[in-house]
């Protein structure tokens, strides 16, 4: 239930000061995270049951989810795509973009076969750069209202973020 419901909450609307323009394509993909944090803390104070007896725990939890989602470029982009009605980033979606999958598999095999610490550090650095450039690609695509490219790059970003975790044995 909460999963279905979540799709209908526009997290941008919970932070009207920082995110006045709303989600892309109207507003920018980039977010002023400092301002978001301030607005979040204030909103959280007001939602706190000790301050506002009318507030419910759900308000506080929703704010928390909204903040975490908007802070993280991958989660933020998935949220934007969900607001646009996309199902390609959902839990049951499957990917058959052969070119992307081949590339991911190749990179992952290279990393898993590499044992030299210096070489691994280089591969990790390359992956961090890949993450940065993919986020840039997503941002660019939203600014051009190119949802298809934004979606493709968001899927790709998910894989590189996953690889970043694998460098630290969290796969």
């Amino acid at each position: 239930m909460s999963k279905i419901l979540r799709r209908w909450i526009n997290y941008y609307s919970l932070f009207p000061k920082t995110l006045a323009a709303g989600p892309p394509p109207k507003g920018p993909f980039e977010i002023d995270t400092k301002s978001l944090r301030n607005e979040y803390l204030k909103a959280q104070q007001q939602a706190h049951p000790d301050v506002n007896s009318g507030a419910t725990a759900a308000d506080s939890a929703t704010l928390g989810s909204a903040y975490r989602t908007l802070l993280d470029p991958l989660l933020r982009s998935r949220h934007i795509l969900e607001l646009q009605g996309s199902t390609a980033v959902g839990e049951d979606a499957s990917l058959d973009d052969e070119e992307l999958l081949m590339n991911i598999l190749m990179v992952r095999e290279e990393v898993s076969e590499c044992e030299d610490p210096a070489e691994r550090a280089k591969l990790e650095q390359a992956n961090n750069e890949r993450i940065e450039s993919t986020i840039h690609k997503i941002s660019q695509a939203y600014s051009e209202n190119d949802l298809e490219t934004a979606q493709k790059a968001t899927i790709e970003l998910g894989y590189w973020i996953k690889l970043r975790a694998a460098f630290h044995g969290e796969d």
């Binding site: 104070q45 000790d50 989660l75 499957s94 991911i104 598999l105 898993s112 973020i161």
Partner: protein
Amino acid sequence: MLRNLGFRTLRSSPQALMPLRATQRFYHDKVLDHYNNPRNVGKLDAKSQKVGTGLVGAPACGDVMRLQIEVDDKGVISDVKFKTFGCGSAIASSSYMTELVRGMSLEEAGKIKNTTIAKELSLPPVKLHCSMLAEDAIKSAIKDYRSKNPTLGPDAAKGAGAAATAA
């Protein structure tokens, strides 16, 4: 007092605001067995006429799975290899799938449902998509093999027989 505490906690530890790291899951013994001792890991020659390759991914969790089958002239899967980057359930699902399809005809292998795998490995509902990925992978490998060997038709065994007669 409570209010102060709540506020301080929020301010002082940004980590507390981050999504939880992969939560501890208790995997079923069969999953652990395949995870610690995966069967048929490796690679077949993707360029070979006899080999079909399936490459699939689950974008939500960032898993990627390659499953390859080698088919003999009787249309039977004689060898099978996989490589999966993903969670324990995804690795176990593909490992079990390779054990399952070896010796099967393409038709039989194409009929395997993810529920068979999920049941064998006792996968919890949140991990059902891992078994789904394994089903997608074998279907995709069969499709690739058939596109390389179009004359074999939908029933590879019969097709191979006919080809042998023709030759």
